[in-house]
């Protein structure tokens, strides 16, 4: 058979219809994948701590379970959703696991759920959302009760919980603390004056938790300062994933490329700088990125593109960037040995 004939057969094979499942089916596969995906790796120092903490939380939860009638109820342990803890719903509880790590949200509509939440990593959050209120934790065991999408009560067995009612200031509860609000029912009319919620052991409200992109960005800088460039690149990318259009995105995009370059991951660094310069020309780092890209391209022997990138950086406001760009052009113009 001639080469042309063989190529024709290959073309026919390429064009042959292949069975790809429907979009709905692939969505199911995707959901299953994310449910099976591993959470971020725990550091060694915290891994040993997590097991006794979880065991202690479980013991405390069992020992401190308040209502005698509830002790008789066998609490079902649901499949590993959410990933950072276990939800034990009481009969009648209606809730959904709405999002996965790093920002896990359990939406509670009605009834009471008991949660055991593992200690979280930097950048992770775990929240229970009830209507427009929310309860945020960082490694604790607690009960949350809701009625008709309204937060009714929180009881903390272990750890620390931040309660953010939609119509009041946030409060912090520690072990043994309670927060209560009378449930609102459809039959209630007129509404009696609402008593102030009982707040136990509520220290002053702490500052708001940093956002996931802020946490990832901070982790990235910690790694960058420690010369762990691959880790830094990963965390800058994570910051971008967490908030692609956020206030930190421009800086994260630039430093992601820089970290890759420092890690000697030349091709990914070139790709990252190209993406920044070509797709985000308004970036405050565009000139500097263009000059850096030029030098990477010189090393990679893409001299024509390198010249273009240097030229684009010659008008940068920063004298340092302009000097670097001119030095790059001079290097390209100088005779080769």
């Amino acid at each position: 058979m001639t080469d042309a004939g063989f190529e024709a057969v290959l073309a026919a094979l390429r064009d042959a219809p292949l069975e790809v499942p429907s979009a709905d089916h692939r969505e199911e596969v995707r959901t299953g994948l994310l449910a099976r995906a591993r959470p971020p790796a725990r550091s060694r120092s915290r891994r040993w701590l997590a097991v006794p903490l979880a065991a202690a939380a479980a013991l405390i939860a069992i020992a401190a379970w308040p209502a005698p009638e509830l002790r008789a109820i066998a609490l079902p342990v649901l499949p590993p959703l959410p990933a950072r803890g276990h939800v034990h719903p009481l009969p009648g509880a209606v809730f959904t696991a709405a999002s996965h790590v790093p920002d896990e949200i359990v939406t509670l509509h009605d009834g009471t759920i008991h949660l055991d939440v593992d200690p979280l990593h930097a950048g992770e959050r775990f929240r229970v959302v009830i209507g427009t209120s929310e309860v945020e934790v960082r490694g604790t065991a607690f009960d949350v009760t809701a009625a008709h999408d309204h937060l009714v009560g929180v009881h903390v067995l272990h750890g620390r919980v931040v309660v953010r009612p939609f119509d009041r200031d946030a409060v912090v509860l520690v072990a043994g603390g309670d927060w209560r609000d009378p449930p609102i029912t459809a039959a209630e009319a007129p509404v009696p004056p609402t008593p102030r919620p009982r707040i136990h052991a509520a220290p002053p409200t702490p500052p708001a938790s940093p956002s996931p992109d802020q946490l990832a960005y901070d982790d990235a800088w910690t790694a960058l300062r420690g010369s762990r460039f691959d880790t830094a690149a990963a965390y800058f990318a994570k910051a971008l994933v967490a908030a692609p259009g956020g206030a930190l995105a421009d800086d994260a995009r630039f430093w992601h490329a820089v970290a890759l370059a420092r890690d000697h991951a030349v091709r990914p660094a070139i790709a990252a700088f190209r993406e920044l310069v070509d797709e985000h020309p308004g970036s405050t780092h565009a000139g500097e990125a263009s000059a850096m890209l030029g030098w990477l391209l010189v090393d990679a022997k893409h001299l024509d593109e390198a010249r273009e990138r240097f030229a684009a950086a010659t008008n940068d406001p920063s004298p340092r960037v302009r000097a670097s760009a001119r030095a790059g052009i001079d290097a390209l113009d100088s005779p080769k040995p």
Binding site: M1, G5, F6, V9, L10, A12, L13, R14, A16, L18, E19, V20, P21, H25, R26, V29, R30, T31, L33, L34, A35, A37, R38, P39, P40, P76, L78, P79, L81, P91, G92, A93, V94, F95, T96, A97, A98, S99, H100, V101, P102, D230, A233, A234, Y235, A237, K238, V241, A242, P244, H256, L260, A265, R267, P268, A271, A272, E275, E279, H280
Partner: protein
């Protein structure tokens, strides 16, 4: 009533992140990045696996999931030696090899049966039928090849990925890749020349 709703798609398709950036985020265990990678490449992985006759069709969903779980596990080892797509297809090839070892004998038998069925139904002279028969026959021939040769043929000749990248993604020397490809092509040519 107690109900548990599966994971919600995290808002936004992350279109402005490069494939390598997503992979880097994936290496930290970021499930949003893994989901975005799945969105970008799942069709390519399905298509590639469908080209391998020794992959078990009934278990293809599991294989796709296993591929992306492996992608997440190994994401930190990606050094940019190939495109992310080639690298992921290399992961799929290695994952499918493990699965196909136990299935190969059965699949070869089935493929031979399919070829025999097509041989019997050659009754119409029109080109479309002839082409379908030829494709089925080649698929049958490929099914009898070792898995590594199937992968080389599918990635290089059918997916048309650069050989250098494919060799890096499969962690084999280029010479080994070309040898496998040559053997696969020779088998396909033999089938075409002998029976078409």
């Amino acid at each position: 009533m107690t109900k548990l709703v599966p994971l919600r798609r995290i808002a936004g398709s992350l279109p402005e992140l490069s494939d390598a950036a997503l992979l880097a985020a994936c290496a930290t265990g970021d499930s949003a990045a893994l989901g975005a990678l799945f969105d970008r490449f799942n069709v390519a992985v399905y298509r590639f696996l469908a080209r391998l006759p020794t992959t078990d069709e009934a278990a293809r969903d599991d294989l796709v999931q296993a591929t992306f779980l492996e992608v997440q596990r190994c994401a930190g080892s990606f050094r940019g030696a190939s495109s992310v797509k080639t690298w992921i297809l290399g992961v799929a090839a290695n994952t499918s090899r493990r699965q196909s070892r136990g299935e190969r004998r059965r699949r070869v038998h089935q493929a031979m049966f399919v070829v025999e069925q097509h041989d019997r139904e050659v009754v119409r002279p029109d080109a479309a039928v002839e082409q379908r028969r030829l494709i089925a026959k080649i698929a049958g021939a490929l099914a009898q090849l070792p898995h590594d040769q199937q992968v080389a043929f599918a990635l290089c000749d059918l997916e048309q990925l650069p050989g250098v990248e494919v060799a890096r993604a499969l962690h084999i020397p280029e010479g080994t890749l070309w040898r496998r490809l040559h053997q696969a092509r020779r088998a396909v040519r033999a089938i075409i020349g002998g029976g078409a």
